[in-house]
């Protein structure tokens, strides 16, 4: 069953095309990685799926429902982790999570927040102001926040960007746990190792066009590269500055 279906998505800013007829589907329980060089359109595509960017053309369906007509229902079932830390800076970790839970109408919000804080080992940080969190803890809190309404679909925009290797590995384990719990995940990343380790399939974008959609193994095979990074450079042609 497809959780997410995109068809013919196009978007231009000031005459410059950033997404050009992009289409693919994401199956239930899989992790799909959106890869591409800077400016390929990954974040724009994720914003389109989360309703922050309106497409010029194309259709988005989630859970079999058309996004235009069922935006609120779809968003209620979609957890979004943005690239930047957009938690409320004046709030503590617990307060920020409670505010979010209320916006999403989570029942027994306090208990749910408490459970997730404990599950993801954040209880000792619950009274710390968000602006005092390290990058890794902020990312973790953002993921926990997205999980509060228990959404079946997660959109993660560069979930481990700027984190040191140890924390990054921790985030990977967390993402795999979520997959095992049955979540469908779409993530963008610049880390080829991350994509290779986490993703069931990869959608490779270049200049707004989808140029490859298959498993990481097939991507390496197609390009003749030993690693995903070799394949990425070969296919996107970004070997020079």
């Amino acid at each position: 069953m497809n959780v997410l279906e995109l068809a013919g998505i196009s978007k231009a800013y000031g005459g410059k095309t950033v997404l050009d007829q992009v289409g693919f589907h994401v199956r239930q329980g899989e992790i799909l990685g959106l890869l591409g060089p800077n400016g390929a359109g990954k974040t724009t595509l994720l914003k389109a799926v989360s309703g922050l960017t309106k497409c010029d053309r194309g259709t988005i369906k989630a859970f079999g429902l058309d996004f235009q007509d069922n935006k609120r229902q779809i968003l209620k079932n979609t957890g979004i982790v943005p690239q930047e830390n957009n938690l409320e800076r004046e709030a503590t970790v617990k307060e920020a999570l409670l505010l979010y839970a209320k916006l999403f109408g989570v029942r027994r919000a306090k208990q749910e927040v408490g459970k997730l804080l404990e599950r993801f080992a954040l209880t000792e940080w619950q009274d710390v102001l968000v602006r005092h969190l390290s990058g890794g803890l902020a990312r973790k809190t953002l993921i926990v926040r997205a999980l509060l309404p228990d959404p079946p679909l997660l959109l993660l925009d560069e979930p481990s960007v700027g984190l040191d290797p140890d924390v990054r590995r921790g985030i990977w384990r967390l993402i795999l746990e979520l997959k095992e719990a049955g979540k469908t995940i779409v993530l963008t990343t610049h880390y080829m190792e991350e994509a290779d380790f986490l993703c069931d399939r990869i959608a490779l974008l270049k200049s707004g066009k989808l140029i490859f959609l298959d498993t990481p193994g097939r991507l390496k095979q197609k390009s003749g590269g030993a690693t995903l990074e070799d394949a990425f450079i070969h296919l996107t042609g970004t070997g020079v500055l």
Binding site: G51, T53, R72, L75, N86, R89, E90, L103, F104
Partner: protein
């Protein structure tokens, strides 16, 4: 009740910022400074029927409501949108554009009414300023709604600090000085009276100074209500068509 969650969030964040003197006093300080400086400086010689202090204190009340409803809402939305991106949390939630707009606008109303109340208490304590009449109270609430909705619209429109400053410099500041807060509009050149008299702060000032529900007070309330409704409608449309 989705709107209440937005309102609750805005008020929660405001409460968290109350210890920040720069935040709290930025929009309270000017009306207070004007109140004391002009009451002491011009009070005895202003030649306002009924006395200058009652006149000025109601003008400062109007300014405080305008500044706090407009500016705090506009800053909350614009800064939350383009610096901290926390406003996007509302946009990717299941809330409707109506809920988001209503919650944020009502938070603006609360900010304005609280600031206005504080200014009045100071004016009462320092100068025994008379309390606002019923039309005055209605004026406070409806002008807070009008400027709260305006602040929300501007917050959604402004893409950077310069755009926000432009609105403050070219719309809010001229209204502060030409809408009858410091002196009667009748003292302006006749061509300017015609323009200034229709601006929301002038209508709010007329309501604040009305002793009873006269025809003029009712007209002012009606026009302010219509303006608030129009700005609210524009805000809902802007949220609905939001695209990065």
């Amino acid at each position: 009740m989705g709107w209440y969650m937005v309102y609750y969030r805005e008020m929660f964040l405001m409460r968290k910022k109350i210890g920040n003197l720069g935040y709290v006093f930025s929009t309270l300080l000017y009306p207070l400074l004007y109140l004391f400086a002009f009451s002491w400086g011009f009070g005895p010689t202003a030649g306002i029927p009924g006395g200058y202090v009652p006149f000025l204190s109601k003008g400062m009340l109007g300014i405080a409501v305008m500044l706090n409803s407009f500016q705090q809402t506009a800053i909350s939305v614009s800064v939350g949108r383009f610096y901290f991106r926390s406003f996007q949390t509302l946009l990717v939630s299941p809330l409707t554009p109506f809920d988001i707009t209503l919650g944020a606008t009502l938070a603006g109303v609360s900010r304005g009414v609280m600031a206005g109340g504080l200014i009045y208490l100071v004016a009462f304590g320092a100068f025994a300023a008379p309390p606002p009449s019923l039309p005055g109270i209605a004026g406070i609430i409806i002008s807070a709604a009008c400027f709260g909705a305006f602040g929300f619209t501007v917050g959604l429109w402004a893409d950077n600090q310069d755009a926000l400053s432009m609105i403050i410099n070219f719309i809010i500041t001229p209204m502060t000085f030409f809408c009858g807060s410091f002196f009667p509009i009748e003292r302006l050149p006749s061509w300017l009276q015609g323009v200034a008299g229709w601006l929301p702060l002038s209508l709010s000032n007329k309501l604040l100074r009305a002793d009873d529900w006269t025809g003029e007070a009712a007209s002012c309330l009606l026009i302010l209500s219509g303006t608030a409704a129009l700005l609210f409608y524009i805000s809902v449309r802007k949220v609905n068509s939001y695209s990065e």
